[in-house]
């Protein structure tokens, strides 16, 4: 999420002063909003320049100015909310690459390697779940952020389980270390 869309979202609730926007922005940082609160006034200037927000007093400093969302700002916010996140091409997956490399390295116990990663991921999931367990159940914002991380990590654990099952069924053997290798027919998508 950009600072730009965070500010449009804060203004969607009604007009606000620059200082108020900065305070609300900083009070939410860490959970939902992007991290750089220092860009608030600069971004407000740009949003005004682009006609996405407007203010009454052109002479005041950013902190004392009252800003409101324009209709095109509202449309931009709505379009951003509905725009699918960029999922193609997929992000480079370090774990997939490590496992593929491990299959080529003589002497690596791949099942043990998969288990080491599985344990690490489950330990991380325990920490996120602990965070959810300690928060009040009605802290929906925190639960949504933590759930997103838990589902992502669970997906990786399930991939490890599938990799484990696949390699049990079709054990991979490392190639001889001295033989020349043909070019790989399958490339890892970066």
């Amino acid at each position: 999420m950009t600072v730009r869309h965070a500010l449009l979202a804060l203004l969607s609730a009604g007009p606000k002063y620059g200082l108020q926007l900065r305070q609300e922005f900083e009070s939410r940082t860490g959970e939902i909003w992007p991290l750089n609160g220092g860009q608030v006034y600069l971004t407000l200037q740009r949003l005004e320049r682009d006609g996405l927000i407007e203010s009454d007093d052109a002479d005041s400093e950013g902190a004392q100015k009252a800003f409101r969302l324009t209709s095109s700002g509202g449309r931009e916010l709505d379009a951003w909310l509905r725009r699918p996140p960029d999922a193609i091409p997929p992000p480079r997956d370090e774990l997939v690459i490590k496992v593929l490399v491990a299959l080529q390295v003589p002497g690596v116990d791949v099942a043990e390697l998969l288990q080491a990663h599985r344990r690490h991921l489950v330990e991380l999931m325990q920490r996120y779940t602990q965070m959810k367990g300690q928060a009040p159940e009605d802290d929906v914002g925190l639960a949504l952020v933590v759930d997103a991380q838990l589902f992502r990590l669970e997906g990786v654990v399930r991939w490890l389980d599938a990799a484990d099952a696949r390699l049990t069924r079709f054990p991979a053997t490392a190639p001889p270390s001295v033989a020349p290798q043909p070019e790989r027919a399958v490339e890892v998508h970066q």
């Binding site: 940082t29 860490g30 288990q115 344990r119 920490r127 996120y128 952020v145 838990l150 484990d164």
Partner: protein
């Protein structure tokens, strides 16, 4: 401190000769009161067998099982049955509730079987249902309850009275993630009040509610998680969100 349940070098072999299957191999596992342990592993890794042996529903081929420091191998059949009735609560994926009994009757039944009077058993049962947020459902039959409510009822039955050991086999397997989470919160809360819990699951999210996750493979304990390091710094600036 004496463990609520302890498995020492437990192996379990089913069948003999060419049909012999070794379900558990030299398993050591100790669970304290107040602790919730999740057991994960692929199908056929021995998870359910481990649970049956910990709950004295099966005897190990070799090795020892101790409940509150007492060796089960030295107990008579009657003593084992009493131990199971009084001290051990079981929860299964398909709830295993009695359809002809109301919620409170289901919860009170194990107490009545153990000689507690009907009125006292129902009073304790109602309190257990209240603790799990099911007070309004006390007079309903299982088929009048949602899946999530049925599993909460099964947990109420499993921890009613002075149960010291909660054993659950895929308790969230038939539930969506929100209801599954509610069941795990209850299991964890029961453990915080002094019960020792062992939950078998293939679901990493549900397992992550446990204090410790034990990984089984081919009947052996191959790994376990370290005590959780705490949630600090997971969502602080600069973290991967």
């Amino acid at each position: 401190m004496t463990a609520a349940v302890e498995l020492r070098g437990v192996s379990k072999v089913y069948g003999a000769g060419p049909t012999e299957v070794c379900a558990l191999r030299e398993v050591d596992l100790s669970v304290e009161r107040g602790e919730l342990v999740a057991v994960m592993g692929p199908s056929g890794s021995g998870k359910s067998t481990l649970l049956l042996i910990a709950g004295s529903l099966e005897a190990p081929t070799t090795g020892e099982v101790l409940v509150d420091g007492v060796h089960l191998s030295g107990m008579s059949g009657d003593d084992l049955a009493r131990l199971r009735r009084r001290s051990v609560g079981y929860v299964f994926q398909d709830f295993n509730l009695l359809a002809g009994l109301t919620a409170v009757e289901n919860v009170a039944l194990p107490l009545e079987l153990d000689g507690v009077g009907v009125r006292a058993a129902h009073r304790i049962g109602r309190q257990a249902l209240t603790n799990l947020g099911l007070a309004e459902r006390a007079g309903r039959y299982p088929d009048e309850l949602s899946g999530g409510e049925r599993q909460r009822l099964a947990i109420a039955r499993a921890v009613v009275g002075d149960r010291r050991l909660l054993l659950a086999d895929e308790p969230t397997g038939a539930l969506d993630s929100v209801n599954g989470e509610a069941v795990m919160r209850l299991a964890r809360s029961a453990c915080r009040q002094g019960v020792a819990g062992v939950i078998v699951t293939h679901d990493a999210q549900m397992a992550s509610w446990a204090d410790r996750v034990v990984f089984l493979r081919d009947g052996r304990v191959v790994d376990q998680t370290a005590p959780p390091a705490g949630p600090e710094f997971l969502l602080t600036p600069g973290s991967d969100r």
